[in-house]
Amino acid sequence: MMRHFALLAVLAAAPIGVANAQDGSDQETVPISGTVAGICVLGPPSQTAVDLGQMINMSGPDAGRIAPLAAQEVTLPDSFCNFAGTHISVSADALLADDSTTVQPGFARAVNFTSTVTNWATGDATVTTAATAGGAMPTAEASGGTQPLPRIADLELTLNNFTVPSNLRLVAGAYAGSVTITLGPAAAPEGN
């Protein structure tokens, strides 16, 4: 019986010793922090230049007037923004003849077209230039809908609806226009 009591005393003492020792532990935290800046990147365009080739009918009743031109498509793969609240803006400059002299009556030196960027948000970015026959006011801009999440996507730029003001005959020469796509925040950050 005495042995039993002694054994119980030892067992009872052991947990007390452990508890006291555990109280002597210490814990330290090293907080780690970092940031990721908000960025948008447009993927490399599938073609950096679009050549429409000969743009006028060379014969027939519409000779000298713009011919039906096929739509052109340019892909910008893996374009992304790593933050929410972004949109696409597109700015297009009508195709203008290099010869900037005043056009003669019945002629034009501008080719308007429609630019549409899809696959970013609900509401594509689309704009149609409205240059005059003489080439004035060639630039047009528009924005698409706002993307509410970070997104990575292949953007599709489509150029179509090539027209000449009043369907006038085009003056001869080289024509050049451009389309600029901007991917960025839909609204400027506060304070900017």
């Binding site: 010793g17 452990v18 006291n20 020792a21 555990q22 109280d23 002597g24 532990s25 210490d26 814990q27 330290e28 935290t29 090293v30 907080p31 780690i32 922090s33 970092g34 940031t35 990721v36 800046a37 908000g38 960025i39 990147v41 893996d78 992304f80 790593n82 933050f83 929410a84 999440l149 970070p150 997104r151 990575i152």
Partner: protein, 203 residues
Amino acid sequence: MIGAARRRPGKLNWSEQMMKRSMILAVLAASATATPAFSQSVDGTVDITGSVADRCLFTTPSATLPLGELARSGTDTNAGRLDESKVDGESRTLVGWCNGTAATMSVEAFALTNSDFTSPAPNGFDRVINFTATADANSESATDTSVTAGAGSAVNVGLFTGNVVVTLSESATPGGGLLVAGDYDGQVVVTLTPNVSFNQPAA
């Protein structure tokens, strides 16, 4: 009185003899009781005991590790993805001690997580950066990965005083995707546990 009895000459009468006997007895009695004090010493003992509990303590109580911009710059296919060089190899030093031979150290790593964008990351994106944390102390290393919950295995560090170096490595995002913009926060928790040393003095 002893000196006076020795100076008295001649035959002594009864009362004088009794006086002398009494004196002698008194002397003998006095001698009998006084003698042990001069011939034997005794010791008294005061036992002194104490104890030192097992304990660990960090004496450098805080360290922060700001990693800065975590995404790769540029415009190539890696732009916007984790720049591992911003995480791997980064370290901070704590200072602490443990006074027992059974002391252990463990580490728990908590992933860097975007605190601004708390929704699930869209396809192609990540908002979590995992890493491995290693704590080195007394030539022992304890590690843990943030991929799995809970602390890593404890290692015995025993008695030591000095640096506890925390180092990050093997950083990666779950999907290898683009990082969602925002602030990222994580942490490493180092625990020193004294446990129980053997051969402790009784309390």
